[in-house]
Point group: C2
Chain length 424, copies 2
């Protein structure tokens, strides 16, 4: 079954926004067992939209089009698709009532331009928009436009907070009714950190070969500081194959595996600390608040995260964390001794179970021959011990911060989980 | 001149990674006066890559293809394009020497699979990769594959830190030689915060009409907490038109404009504080370190940013910031009084010129009837005054943090810049 995705928006072609829809929609579909075969982005121009839709309809059974359903003159998707398919647009009373109510509830005047969003092509199903005014639209398109049977064409509004719940609550059930999977589909992702992609592959590809030869699909996705291993299988034996693969891979990778599926390292930390009813406090220098930011992205973080200190200046390290002046003089701010005192200091001052510290040179400036840009010292202090680690992270500033945060979170995770296998 | 972009990668189709190349490349090209007409993403499959390249060559004068140049079995772009164009692959001695040296310098063994990256199609120009092993490749393709004159086909490696410098340093000069702009091109973006897109448009679209009728292009790009206004013009009068448009728009928008072109709000804050030789300290609760993280993404932030405290717990607010217990009891943690004491406390304790505080309810839990989820109080304290602001930010957790950080940075910006015009 061929699936195509079209993202409309001149802002995409000018590079003014990231196309987060592509990742989000592709991910949702993939995890349900549907794979997008091709994604196309075009500007808000009538001919470009029509051409892209025409080409996709010629091959796809499912076509999702995002953006261009709003009230402004750039919003052309609804009109252009209706014109291409020869469908008349009619004002829908329920949609109009929803738009009127949307503005009334917010005590804002309803701009006249907004009314155009109540126009619905003949034969379309309306997908109500709980978060905004423009409804989504779903249409069955048959030949001559769709040449391989008919195609389900779904138009979704551009704002992510409108598109996402609409897709999950309304499009997914429609899709599963319209295109039931022929065989069971199971997907599992193991998240790892600490080894590069080729070394992860080297550990598991050989031993898993009997399973991949029997139809298990194995994929790797490397980002900085993380390698995801994704297993998928179809058919009646899929759940069993995935379970076998997971068991085998976990045995081989040991505690390199920090989580599963959509879990992120910061989410794992919050979960582990919550389970253990323990708390953490942070002393960040070169990560500049990123570790705190990542932890507090997780709902429920407030139960385990007491406080973070971003101590960029030496004075702040002395005053807020109790680092000793003689330590800074003797070893410098980027040193094992300073990292240790930062972690222990923040742990004691906040009466936390764990203290994490990082201190390093993010660059571009600030490096020396002895301590080049990229040098980092980090520490995790607990009631009984303080572990430290030195890293050399040679990346641009933002990637440096990300990787360093990942390593510091991982250093804590290893204190929180019994080591099953060294893995490295 | 038609430009197409193809991003290859099964991980894109599975939604495992964000396609940051699209935004970055489109933005670089747009700011040089070249607009991408169409972007396509396809999986790492030979037929899918060949079909996408064939279709693009039929219409484009410039085709950029990203990804698939590495050493693994998924990396098919080089082979598939060489096969499609009937070009033989030959091992390039200079590329091989670069790969060998790359591993030698890092004291790592060179995997045998890496050698495939030294293969270069007949007639291709090699783009050396300073950050990695896979070189980029540039080819002139003439009919029968390219039907409208010949097409410049550029293949770039997938990792952003390899692709970006290669594009800027090697592809841009090649492009500007090969496709000189017929007329001068000028582009300018004004960044605003504080008003929605339609209200920004309402303020400037009418007064700018004479310029847009004379050929100035005016575009809006709204993201949460920010609206960018982009002017472009071509021709000999372009610089003058853009200057006129900018003057007019700045007059109408007043201090809603916080910056220009690639500037971000946090960059403006660092610049303004650096110019004034002043410092800032942060007391963040509901933004959880995001403000510190944003400021420290800016090189040079260490000169003006002393420290940030992420005081999630009430105890941390008392202990680290000196908020009075009776204030918390009488008004609660999310209140004007607490925000004020947090900002003043952090300013005094760090001896900073400015203290910023935010305290609010990010959700999903924690709301009450009186203080619903989304309620935020923020404050900026200086030696002479403390300003406070209440907001209701109804977004998901991460968007909430972003918008709140934006508003707090803007509250400081308004203390740092003389108000030229109320703008709102």
């Amino acid at each position: 079954m061929r699936i195509e995705l079209i993202n409309t928006g001149t802002e995409l072609m000018l590079g003014q926004v990231l196309n987060s829809h592509q990742q989000w929609l592709c991910r949702q579909l993939a995890d349900l067992g549907y794979t997008v075969d091709r994604q196309v982005a075009v500007p808000d121009s009538g001919p470009a939209i029509q051409q892209a839709v025409r080409e996709a309809l010629a091959v796809a059974r499912l076509l999702v089009v995002t953006g261009g359903l709003g009230p402004t003159s750039d919003d052309r998707t609804r009109d252009q698709i209706a014109e291409l398919l020869g469908r008349k647009l009619r004002e829908d009373a329920a949609v109009l009532a929803h738009i009127v109510e949307f503005f009334r509830a917010r005590q804002r005047p309803m701009p006249a331009s907004t009314r155009v969003q109540a126009l619905v092509p003949d034969g379309a199903t309306v997908l109500m928009n709980a978060q905004g005014t423009a409804p989504g639209l779903a249409l069955e398109v048959s030949s001559p436009h769709a040449h391989s049977g008919s195609c389900l064409l779904v138009m979704l509004p551009g704002p992510p907070r409108e598109l996402r719940p609409m897709f999950t609550e309304q499009v997914v059930p429609m899709l599963q009714r319209r295109f039931p999977l022929e065989t069971p589909f199971v997907c599992r992702t193991l998240k790892t950190t600490g080894l590069g992609e080729s070394l992860v592959e080297e550990k598991i590809a050989g031993p898993l070969r009997p399973l991949t030869q029997a139809g298990l699909e194995l994929g790797y996705c490397a980002s900085v500081g993380q390698v995801d291993v994704r297993f998928t299988a179809r058919g009646d034996k899929a759940p069993e194959r995935i379970a076998q693969a997971e068991r085998l891979a976990r045995g081989l990778l040991g505690d390199l595996v920090f989580g599963m599926d959509a879990e992120q390292l910061e989410g794992v930390i919050v979960r582990l600390l919550t389970d253990r009813q323990q708390t953490v406090a942070l002393a960040e220098s070169c990560t500049g608040g990123l570790i705190a930011n990542r932890l507090t992205n997780i709902p429920g973080a407030s139960v385990v995260f007491l406080a973070g200190m971003v101590t960029y200046s030496n004075e702040a390290k002395l005053q807020l964390l109790g680092v000793r002046p003689e330590t800074l003089v003797a070893h410098g701010a980027v040193s094992e001794a300073t990292a240790r005192e930062m972690a222990e200091g923040v742990r004691q001052r906040l009466a936390a179970d764990y203290g994490i510290s990082v201190t390093g040179i993010a660059g571009p400036g600030g490096g020396t021959q002895e301590k080049p840009v990229g040098t980092v010292w980090m520490a995790v202090a607990s009631a009984t011990t303080t572990v430290t680690e030195r890293r050399l992270n040679l990346y641009d500033r933002e990637t440096f911060k990300w990787v360093t945060a990942q390593q510091a979170l991982e250093l804590l995770r290893r204190q929180l989980t019994p080591i099953s296998n060294p893995g490295g």
